[in-house]
Amino acid sequence: MFARSANGNVAPKRVIEGQATNLSRTMHGIAYDGIHDEIVIPVALSGAVLVFKADSTGEVPPLRAIQGTRTRLVRPHTVAVDPVNNEILTADPSSRAIFVFDRMANGNVAAKRVISGPQTGLLDIVGLDVDPIRNVIVASSRKGNGDKVGIFVFDRLANGDVPPKQFIGGANSKLAHFRQVAIDPATGNIFLAQQNTRMKQMEAYVLDKPREGFKAKEQEEDDDSDEGRLDQMGFIAVYAPDDNGDIPPRAIIKGPGIRMAGAAGVALNPKKKEVITVGGNGFQTFLLPEFFKPFRKPGGTALPR
């Protein structure tokens, strides 16, 4: 946890870590519940979602842990919290599913709703947020064949194998290798962190077994790198809540500021009109009031000036 005003090479104000926390050193998501003052975090390597008091520090146990056979969690990657409807959401790329739990769920409990199946188009789900005002769930997911690589918008109460009500993706979108999504509650604007514009490469292994027929591209740059090739820079993209189809973003942060030209994470401070981007072992804060304004013409391409 860093002070919002942190700048330069600074140590965190607080750290939650150690055996008793049940955290691991592999966590890809985080959400803050401002109403109940809690932190929600997925633990990919133990199939769990943990909830901590937001003022925790040091080696403290979680308040609640969602884990067990009824949860169907395998490798939860990203989380969101809906404090209005008292729900915790997590997306699990191993389960190929979005799970919605009661906010107070603790232990071996089943999800209230599960969005999963061929019609959903979801596969490698790496970003997730919920908008309780517009009643939608927004997820970012990737398929290796280039089909259905983008942002999926579902009804908040969607359950089962249902198609998204909106989908942003395609060649014009340049969406390829992205991760975290965030929604501005006031406008519904959707923010996405994209690491680079090249599709994530195929891994040589399927878990611990060599992938059949895999051919390595020796000396190729790492597609997970936040320092991606300069002609394939990542960006922070912003879309209107009703955006749909193969469209470019309405607003963008690109270039070196987003951790050497790519970011994996994005968070918002709507009160101060700040966008926080994370990647490359660092984070940056951008001051962008325009990004927190509603789009006047849904379907158009320009923000009001």
Binding site: N7, P256, M260, N281
Partner: protein, 437 residues
Amino acid sequence: MRRLLIAGSTALALALIGADKFTLAGAAAGSTDEASLDELLASDCLDDAAMEVAQAAARLPQEGGVASDAWPPNAVGGVIPPLRSVSDPFPTFDGIALDTENDRVIFSDENRHSLLVYDRTAGGASNDVTEPRQWVFGPKTLLGYIAGVEVDPKRKEFYTVNNDSGDRMTVFSYDSDHGNVQPRRTLILPHQSWDVSLAPTRDEIAVTVQQSNAISLYKRTAVGTAAPIRTIRGLATELEDPHGLYFDETHNELIVANHGNWTQIRPYSPYDPQTTDVGEYKSGAFHPSAITVHAADANGDVPPLRTIEGDLAGLNWPMGLDVDLTHDEIAVANYGDSSVRVFRRTSKGNVQPIRVLRGALTQIVGPVSVALDTKNEELWVANYGDHTAVVFPRTASGNVRPKRVIRNAPKDTPTCGFTNASAAAYDSKRDEILVPN
């Protein structure tokens, strides 16, 4: 001149960071301003390295690239400098490998993605940076978020493993491999491989794999996509988020430090099918940290020979470990309580360590690896929570000062503590930014 449209807010941001070369009258009036990319790049920036990238990007052909001024059409924003930027410009020590034949010590640096080689006698009482004799660093090296490091004194080679961003092991050589150089050879590994250990007589290497809860073994000379010659994996192995690894050829054993996280990982990549039949679903679990010892010839789901685990052992996110075959001891970097714990090599069950190094005087802060030197009677500790490595007498115990300190940054330089951070949240109550690793 190529021009970049900058909205009023961006100009305001520039004003806040002191970029007074811009004409900001428009911003003050609330109107849209224009400033050229060249002007922007010429301005002061909080992150000099980022600006260098921007300058390089501006020189590239921009057809189709998002750095182009033209994409996306009619969108606001663009190449915008950050208001604030938090990162650590210095290396952070992660893995450690000691070569007492050639008097070298090699560290992996997860933060800057580099390998640093020092003389074995390096360090001292200085508050200044200790100069490495060899530094492997740059895009040609293919180093990503590297973790464990190993050395082959006979061939004067050193190995490291990318834990993320490029699933491979890279091998470099002494002396000539300095700076931005290609590795001598590379071996593709499973994702989240953490440590590597060499068995010179068997001519094998062993690698721990966190997410698969596995040890994969390869021929030492394996390159490219060569498959493992055997893999130890499964519920019976008790491998749970394995990290540090030591290949003990004398006793034909593999010694592993485990964090205790376990899940039955299933394929998750965008290239795998939507559903994969991997049998009955088993839920994730939190287990205590443990040191497990496996038969080196084991293959498949084989139980460990013995395990050190329990309250008395005090293991807490144990990271790298080393084995002293002369005195039959295991030393482990206990990240969770900033200690080094030394156990009898043959201990099992809930046993106390025979020595613990811990306390403010030790300067051990978030240790990630250790190395034992029986030739010179020293114990090395690589700190991730501080920009140092500290060297003790081999049998040091308790809260004692190190005999030497190796620094990769000036004394008291802070560390951000990131290990491939990829998400964030904003805590509106405390006005804090939350970042998981």
